[in-house]
Amino acid sequence: MNYFTDPILRAPTIGCILMCVAASLMGVVLLLQRRLLVGESISHAAYPGAILGILALALLGPEWEEYSFLAVLIGALGSSWLGMKAIERMERKIKIRSDAALCFTLAIFFGFGILLASWLQESLPQWASQAQVLLFGQAATLTDEHIMIYALLALGCTLFILFAFRPLQALLFDRGYSKSIGINTRSFERALFWLLLFSIVVGIRSVGVILMSGMLIAPAIAARQFSNHLKTIFLLSALIGALSGLLGNVLSVEIALRYDSLFLPTGPMIILVSATFALLSLLFSPKRGIAFRLARLASFRLRCLEENILKEIWKRREIEFAELKRHYHPILATFVLQRLIGQGWVDRKGGVLTLSDDGQTRAASIVRLHRLWELYLTEQLGWQAEKVHMSAEEMEHILTPELEERLTKLLSDPQRDPHAQPIPQKRPVL
């Protein structure tokens, strides 16, 4: 079943994809401005205006019913603009905190919208279904005309971000600075404001007032996890948004087909898909994902343990396996030693462990770092000799070759540590 060509399916599919692209792009902007929840207020504030739009059309020009989409759009834009102005005023003039202003505005506007909707339901019931659709959206009944509007929107957002990328980047990163270098922050912010308004208001037809803000949030979060470069973040966000739009739609339809009359609404499905992407990226993205951070931490701790054991063997020339098992946790000791033996750092004869040549070199270099650091603390920073050991126990695993070189130079290639122990010298590289 082809979602892109079938005349019934293509409008919802393509429409949702385009809408999600626009929303995810704007979501990145909001994420970086730390104002993601503004989307919630905008979408809820749009509700009464949308209904007023329908009312106006019903009363003034009922013969243009197929243009109700436009009436809704204009009305929605109007009331969401009003809502944003109200929030601004509350924050500036009355000193209401931003979260309270957002919450109050969204509740009041939406409540008024409910009132209007009930009026519409009673007085012009033939138009009431239009209003009903606005709550949770109805992607399934999108038409090709809708695709046009969504395409325009997505194009508008993309083009703006493409052409205004540099000043946008400066604005998002540091508003004060960008103003000082002459960027017209006001017009930029105004442009962004209207783009945001459009992307939310236009999307209401597909996923509804209540869920629309969700379209902006998850893809941006997912994208942010993967990169620190703004361009990549925008691209990824749009991609993830598009995928979510597609998959949400597809899943909704497939499930309805497979399980008779189980119609799962598209809006929530898209959100669940994008939330899954967000969760996966939070867990598994390289560098920032939790899974990777845990792995990095675990491998660091493992390395510390290995190096401590190597040091132990170096100091005593040879150790009995059993003794190590007693000192460290038996299972852990066995596991670590297997690794060390397997990688060729340690030799085992019967129950006795010795270091291989490579093992000797490695252990010696760790001890060198330990003693260099101790000397650094006592000589350069005036620490007492009794206190430096703990710090060195940590640092011996951390110091990079570059830091080691600087230490050696700073301390003039020392031979003895503060406890008069010899500092293993660096073996010349052959």
């Binding site: 109050f104 409910i114 869920l211 669940l272």
Partner: protein
Amino acid sequence: MNPYSGAGFFEFFAILFQRLAQVCMGAPLTLATDEVQLAVLACCAIACGLIGPFLVLKRMTMFANSLSHTSLLGVVGAFLIGSSLWDGTIADISILLLGAFIAALLTAGLTETLSRLFRLQPDASIGLVFTTLFALGVICVTLFTKNAHISTEAVMGNPDALQWSDLKLSALIAFLNIGLVLFLYRRLQLASFDEPFAKAIGAPANGLRLTLFLLTSATCTGAFRAVGVLVVLALLTGPYLTARLFCHRLSHLLIWTPCIGLVACTIGVALSRSILSWTGMPLSTSGLIATFIALIFLSALFVRRRKKTRTGWTGSALPAG
């Protein structure tokens, strides 16, 4: 036969007081639908008015938005657990409250985890959690109840379907909130004003925060059918923001705020009835309440502005004294 049918705005109150007087003089207590509505809404207004100020002061209003949306999931969960029929009766109050608490804990827990462990910025954590859980709630409603109207009801409220059991629930929650504020007023004040200090002197700041979460969630659940998950936010924030324009003692605010909420709800019900009588149109009571709260707020702003220009006072946003 509903004694209020056909009543206009002022007649509504006349009938109300008449019936109240009758009850006081010994007549049996039978509540008309309007009165049930009024009672439930009154309890909601009181509950919201007592908790709302602390939510605003602790900057937890968008988090309350979050809790309010996820209460849908809580109610669905309660429905699944209680396997009651969603035909207008709620089987067991305790199960509903349990559903609310679990939803609240889930929301709070997930949001905190995203903030702390995953290092997500606060607005992103809140946003991601509540949109996902709400979407999940809507899907669960479709999957398990085969009745998509619940989602609409959740959002708009359905005060006409309110019953005695709903009244019990909202009254209980109102009492819980009254108890909270009565017994823990100073500590709530302390924890809202200066949380680090509160922790430093060993006051139960975290416990209070948790209690606030749970009660907010319960309040939203109790208001679920009465006004819906969005207008309850209007009841939580609006009256406080209005009262704050004139009053700056927390103890007084905690009296004004529920009163303003009560007024809005009462007028909402009366208006709804009178419009029905005059025009035959049953308008949404919760919509009327929200609109009225907005009107009260705007009038308060207007009055304050006139006061300012009259006394020629220009200063901070708050009047002196």
